[in-house]
Structure formats: C-alpha cells, structure tokens
C-alpha cells in the first residue's frame, strides 16, 4: 500500500449530481481494489492552460489516496473510460 495523489479534471458542464456520481464510481473502484481515499481536495472550476475536449475550463479534484500498486493499471483504465473525467493523473507522493 502506497500513497498517491490522483488529480481528475471533470467536465465543466456537468451538474453536481453527475459529478458526485462520477466521484462515487472512482471511490468504488478504489475501495474494490483494496485502497482508500484519505482526503479530497476540491480546487473547483479552473481555467485550463489549453483546451481539453474543446473545453476551456475544468473542475479539478485532488484525491489523496492509498492504493495497492498492482491496482493502478486497472484504475487508470477505468478513469480513461469514465466519461465525465476529461483528464486524470496518478502521482506517487
């Protein structure tokens, strides 16, 4: 089990419900693989340095997570598929 930082950029046009749902799914994947979310940091809607998916803004979330290293590949794959997430990054602390 190691500590990681997970940054997700969520599509700006989504309502709170859809965002919660997406975060819930991420939470679910992490828990299923034996990890946990230690804390969530909401950066809010930020202007991005360049367009992603034709959007100039994104809603940023920073999740401090503890993960089993083997589960990262699977989590990354899931995040890429999850529609509301425009971009994600997992970084070891």
């Amino acid at each position: 089990m190691n500590e990681y930082e997970l940054v997700v950029i969520i599509h700006p046009d989504l309502d709170d419900e859809a965002i919660d749902q997406a975060l819930g799914r991420i939470d679910g994947w992490i828990k299923d693989s034996g990890g946990k979310i230690d804390s969530t940091d909401v950066w809010g809607k930020k202007h991005m340095a360049y367009e992603i998916q034709k959007q100039n803004e994104g809603i940023y979330y920073l999740l401090n997570v503890t993960l089993v290293p083997e589960s990262i590949a699977e989590l990354e794959r899931n995040l890429t598929i999850l529609e509301p997430v425009m971009r994600h990054m997992i970084v070891a602390k």
Binding site: V7, I9, K46, M48, A49, Y50, I52, G58, Y60, L62, R87, M89, V91
Partner: protein, 100 residues
C-alpha cells in the same frame, strides 16, 4: 607585438572588435532549491514553476535558471506534470500566429 602572433591567421586590425564573440559572462549563480531547503518543487505550485519557463512555456535551461542538475530534473518533471493536467501550457496560446 606578441598579440599579433595569436592572430596570425587573420588580419590583425580586427582585434578587439567583434573578432571573437563576446563571452557570455554570467553572475555566479546558485541553485535556489539547494540554498532554501524549505522550497518544495511541486506540480501544484504553478507560480513557482512559471519562473522556470520562458514566456512561451518552454522549460528554461540550467544555464538560464541556475538550478543544479538534481533540482533541474525535479523542476522539469513537475512542469511536465503540471502540463499534463493543463495547469501550465505546452506552448503559449499565440504560437500558431507566430509561425505564420
């Protein structure tokens, strides 16, 4: 005329004006991260990382930024991370206009 001896291949009149490219004299630099141990290089700290990029968004060389090899690697890594999550630009927005 001992000086002429060194310039024997060229004409001696050039001496002292533009014959040799002016040497780049640089102030003695130090690595800010080595001298200030409390500074943390982190991709979230865009304000700090901005200092290590040019206006176009390119990463400044060690010659320009004065960081040591170890910290330059860290700076470069964090800038690349910041770029990935769109906190920093890969290029500034006007590059398309510039190449035209």
């Amino acid at each position: 005329m001992a000086d002429d001896y060194n310039n024997s291949s060229g004409n001696g009149s050039d001496q002292g004006k533009g014959r040799y490219r002016a040497r780049f004299v640089r102030k003695p630099r130090f690595c800010q991260f080595c001298s200030d141990k409390t500074l943390v290089i982190d991709y979230k700290d865009v304000k700090l990382l901005r200092k290590f990029t040019t206006e176009e968004g390119k990463i400044r060389s060690r010659r320009q930024s004065g960081t040591c090899a170890k910290h330059q690697r860290a700076v470069a890594r964090e800038i690349k991370r910041a770029r990935h999550i769109a906190l920093m630009p890969f290029t500034d927005g006007t590059w398309e206009e510039k190449i035209r």
